[in-house]
Symmetry: C2
Subunit: 333 residues, 2 copies
């Protein structure tokens, strides 16, 4: 295992300390590093909290700040955070508007966020609602999930709902809007190489030199099938075909396109995939009104990418374009 | 070779097309893809132009836009762009204020930008000045350079000089300021793995499973020595020792810290390195007034990172914080 680390047991703590000091203008660390929270809370605003296993950075801590999340709970690498982390985060950032949990559909995360909701109710902590994201069209059930997995589309939910929260919408409205965004957002990924979890010390899976994992999950878990490496155009065709087949968009529809790198993919390849994806969208008479290209929902150093398409209306685009100030996504501020 | 590409000879063109369409609000592509230029030019402003081999993205095209560059000339992967690209860019973006070339100290780049300057003079194109960056403390001469190499510190020069240009400073003042920034900026890198140039089809160099290349260049060219993999703390100590030994900063000095990923390094590791670097700075009574952490000056999918320290005063920080709107660096807009 080749990594820029000290002791494997300290990777998360040292990384969080580095993150919190590098972005001290935006975030602070909760006690015992249970969560990363927005430095300036907005009284009365619904508090958005997400979290999950680490190793997907910038998701979620890199999206804490104005216009997105109020707190993120980091678990160990590819391991769900605990309910007490989520409860502590809720107690820290709820300023009276209630709390909305944004949860990727993985069994550990769903269970622990549900438990945190119950604990919050027991303690009369204020209302808590939950959105579960399940944008991955690759598989219907998987190693770690019942139903589709929540993957890169989660950041689109976090951004759009975060922008709406900033404008003062209430908890019920935000939970309903988040479900709508999730339902209009679909993703699929491909891996060219595995990643290595520091505590494991060896690659999660093995691919031959001429193989790829089509439909891979963000922990390197299996997708649809293992096949021979194909051209970028063929890969984009298969992924976009699955996504658009599921979304059935109308001609003329505006979309957000996210070309997401898994951590080990050169920028040149991501933009080349963006080019291929846009051509396919144009072939379906769909307009990529906004494109986001980069490593946003990663799997440590895995090579590969995912494509995400989110159907949007003008009102969604206005939310997308409103000011956001986080470590990983920033404009208008 | 595992890459998300179609034909190797089309990688650059398809990637540039993807980049230009994804960021059509910021940039346009020049004829024959000779350069990427800022969409909205500012009449009378000094035009900043950089360029170099591709494979280092977002450097340089990702830094074209308000507050940074007016144009970037992309060569093939790790290959200098040609003088006619640079001349065409100068002709396209010079709005009467003259042109400033920002050039990384590699023989091909230096020679071709010098030739472009001569061609511009022959054509009475208007004044052209040049800044050559040479921030890499690892080696005094190298495979492709006479004198120190220009590496990640180049983006700090592009940003600070770009901000000053936006404020209306003239060509002589900007050239002088750029030289000052370059002289106050030092970098050093380490590689854990090689990268693979698409046209070559195989890794540029080979490292054993327990080896790293200390002082590596951004094309994977040799650094100081090949040694056993060390801890992140030990790596940071060696790199910061070389940087600070060269800069000899006074106690209490403010600095910009750039923790740059080479393309295949997980975000967690970069923030862990940031944590280590900040601790070393604090030990020298230096204050990291701003931290930038991410893949900004890459070497395709190479694993590893570089550290850059730039000594700054309040006036430099004001320039740093002023609005910037590029694909890869954006705030205040």
């Amino acid at each position: 295992m080749k990594k820029l680390i000290n002791r494997t047991e300290d990777v998360l703590a040292e990384s969080l300390d580095g993150f919190a000091t590098a972005h001290a203008d935006i975030v602070t660390l909760g006690t015992d590093r249970k969560f990363v929270q927005r430095r300036s809370l907005k009284p009365g605003k619904v508090a958005l909290i997400s979290g999950g296993g680490s190793g997907h950075e910038p998701l979620h801590a890199g999206f804490v700040g104005h216009g997105m999340l109020d707190a993120a709970c980091p678990g160990q690498v590819f391991t769900s955070p605990t309910p007490d982390q989520m409860l502590a985060a809720a107690q820290a950032v709820d300023t009276g508007g209630g709390v909305l949990f944004i949860v990727k559909n993985y069994e550990g995360d769903v269970m622990n966020f549900a438990m945190a909701s119950e604990m919050a109710a027991d303690m009369a902590q204020g209302p808590v609602a939950t959105i579960v994201t399940d944008d991955d069209v690759a598989v219907e059930t998987s190693t770690f999930s019942t139903g589709r997995r929540g993957v890169a589309g989660t950041m689109i939910v976090e951004r759009l709902v975060g922008a709406a929260a900033e404008q003062g919408r209430d908890l019920d409205a935000l939970a309903a809007y988040g479900k709508v965004v999730n339902a209009r957002t679909r993703s699929m990924g491909v891996a060219l190489t595995s990643c290595t979890v520091p505590a494991a010390g060896k690659p999660t899976f093995a691919l031959a030199d001429d193989e790829m994992e089509m439909g891979v999950g963000i922990h390197g878990e299996p997708g649809r099938r293992r096949v021979k490496l194909a051209t970028a155009d063929a890969i984009a065709e298969e992924m976009m075909g699955a996504i658009l087949g599921d979304l059935s968009p109308k001609a003329g529809q505006q979309v957000l396109l996210l070309v997401n790198g898994f951590g080990g993919t050169p920028s040149m390849e991501l933009y080349l995939m963006c080019n291929a994806a846009r051509r396919i969208l144009a072939g379906h008479k769909l307009l990529a009104a906004r494109c986001l290209v980069g490593p946003y929902v990663t799997s440590l150093e895995m090579a590969g990418c995912s494509l995400t398409v989110s159907l949007v209306e003008d009102a969604d685009l206005a939310l997308w374009d409103s000011p956001v100030h986080t470590a990983a996504l920033r404009w208008g501020v």
